[in-house]
Amino acid sequence: MEHPLIEVQNLSKSYHRDSLEIPVLRNITLEVAEGEFVAFMGPSGSGKTTLLNLIAGIDKPTEGTILIAGTDVTRLSETELAIWRSRNIGFIFQFYNLIPVLTAVENVELPLILTPLSKRERRAHAATALQVVGLADRMRHYPRQLSGGQEQRVAIARAIVTDPAILVADEPTGDLDKISAEEVLNLMDRLNRELNKTILMVTHDPRAAERARSVRQLDKGELA
């Protein structure tokens, strides 16, 4: 791989419980090229989500470096990380995590508040993102008025609205029925192929993993 977008080198992560040190990731080295769609699989406790969180910059490693487009995110301060995340990472959570008191379009607009865009531009971007996920007609709906699949699509719209290079998805179909899961996976596939988004997905679902271009197995904190 000539110029990988993501370079993880000798990454380790341990948690401390009282005086006990619990290793979660051991000496992980990984490269992901721009536009890849990688699925991380493995049993519970294997460290998949921890790896995803470290790459997304919402957790700090015990050892090792994570270079993303040349930036070592492990060296950034909390404030720098927050700014970096807002520009480079789109999050897709298992339970969607939409703000229940905001409409679909307002939820999608949230990350744009941190940009210098005007209110009108923000609204236009959010509407476009909702159009991409096929929910243009549900802009004014509150999360409680949407199905699980639709909520996840709104969450995806929120993840892509700032046009980040990387999408991280933690069990994006874990809370969905088969049909909704299929819709969400189709959408992620489109984002990857048509918009060249680099997608890192943690999943237990083999059918979801099949949609990725590559699958990496983790076991006891190590990449197989």
């Binding site: 919402i58 995590n97 941190l114």
Partner: protein, 386 residues
């Protein structure tokens, strides 16, 4: 703007809880303002006192009279501009619950020394001409539906017997701190009858009020007056009017201090209530704040959201509390025996203090939940089960 919208919607997310908290803040602010008003009413006499007035009374106690003959000698003390006197008449008007000041005064000089009692000239002239005339405050006229020419029958206790006074003047207080419910009549009228019925008490007055030229000289003038009567049958104690009024408060100082402390304790309690509401609200939304942090929102944004929500609740509560304070103060005054607090009004400082308290409650109540959001790691918050 979206954050502002989110802030407002968050504040109203649990309508019942927010409403109860707002009501709680409202009741607390009202109680705070009411207590402050009572404390202020207690201090009204002190606040109404003038810097250029001294009070000369018997050195042993206020209840012992002074000879009328002292008046001319006091008037000759350097620095003294005018001297008048008054006597506490007491007595019962209608029944013992009708309390207001009844003073026998020197009609020639008393109102010169107390320009804060505003009396129409024609009424004052009539008052001076009639021996059993009296002047009453507008509050008394309103309270007992008295008009000029009406008779007030007072049953004397300090000065026994039935006393009849004719209302010849109704004064308006110049300042908000001036007592609008005092009755004043001629000392001469009282003393003439005393001379006949209790001659040993004739020619005695309750206290002297001394107007001085320069308030800076109050200590020297006081000392000079008291020196005049040292080693006499009735030694004097002269002090500023403010100090004299404060002596009256000293007996109630423990109660006033307790009320002062209570008023601030109430604010402390409501701070805990609002803080509790905010902690509960923020804990329920741990996931949402974690998502906002993951999206790149900074501590400043999160503080704005939490403090803003807390401030909305406390400011609405404060506004409600101050709004109901006015009728509450009126109701409180009505419920009290007549004349307990002749000067009873909400001071602007009380409103300002209430607003400051409401703002600080909102701000301080948001500190703990904000700190919790900021110090909890995103991944821990995302794992949190609310």
């Amino acid at each position: 703007m979206e954050l502002l919208r989110l802030l407002f919607r968050n504040a109203l997310r649990h309508k019942l809880r927010s409403l109860l908290t707002i009501l709680g803040v409202g009741v607390a602010v009202m109680a705070f303002a009411l207590l402050r008003t009572v404390v202020s009413a207690w201090h009204a006499g002190v606040e109404a006192s003038s810097a250029n007035r001294l009070i000369t009374r018997h050195a042993v106690s206020f209840v012992f009279p002074l000879p009328l003959a002292y008046r001319d000698r006091i008037a000759q003390v350097p620095g003294v501009e005018n001297v008048t006197y008054a006597t506490w008449f007491s007595g019962v008007y209608i029944d013992k619950n009708q309390f207001f000041g009844r003073l026998a005064v020197d009609s020639e000089t008393f109102f010169e020394v107390y320009p804060e009692f505003l009396i129409p000239k024609d009424q004052f002239d009539t008052f001076k001409r009639e021996r059993n005339a009296c002047i009453i405050g507008v509050d008394l006229a309103r309270r007992y539906n008295l008009k000029l020419g009406d008779i007030m029958n007072v049953e004397g206790d300090v000065y026994p017997g039935s006393w009849e006074f004719v209302v010849r003047g109704i004064y308006r207080p110049r300042d908000q701190t001036t007592d609008p419910a005092t009755m004043m009549f001629h000392y001469k009228y009282v003393d003439e009858r005393v001379r006949l019925e209790m001659p040993e008490r004739s020619g005695e007055v309750g206290w002297y009020i001394v107007r001085i030229r320069d308030p800076e000289n109050s200590a020297a003038v006081s000392e000079a007056i008291d020196r005049l009567f040292a080693n006499s049958r009735a030694e004097t104690k002269t002090e500023t009017e403010r100090a004299f009024q404060q002596n009256f408060l000293s007996s109630a100082s423990a109660v006033i201090t307790a009320m002062n402390i209570m008023s601030f304790l109430i604010i402390g309690i409501i701070l805990l209530v609002v803080a509790n509401t905010m902690i509960m609200s923020v804990r329920e939304r741990t996931h949402e704040y974690a998502v906002l942090k993951a999206l790149g929102f900074s501590g400043r944004h999160l503080f704005f959201l939490v403090a803003g929500e807390s401030l909305i609740i406390s400011i609405l509560g404060t506004a409600l509390g101050l709004l109901v304070t006015l009728p509450a103060v009126r109701g409180f005054q009505t419920a009290l025996p007549k004349g307990w607090f002749p000067v009873f009004y909400i001071k602007p400082e009380t409103i300002v203090l209430g607003c400051i308290a409401g703002f600080l409650v909102g701000l301080i109540a948001s500190l703990i939940p904000t700190r919790r959001i900021l110090t909890t790691r995103i991944i821990e918050s995302l794992r949190h089960v609310g």
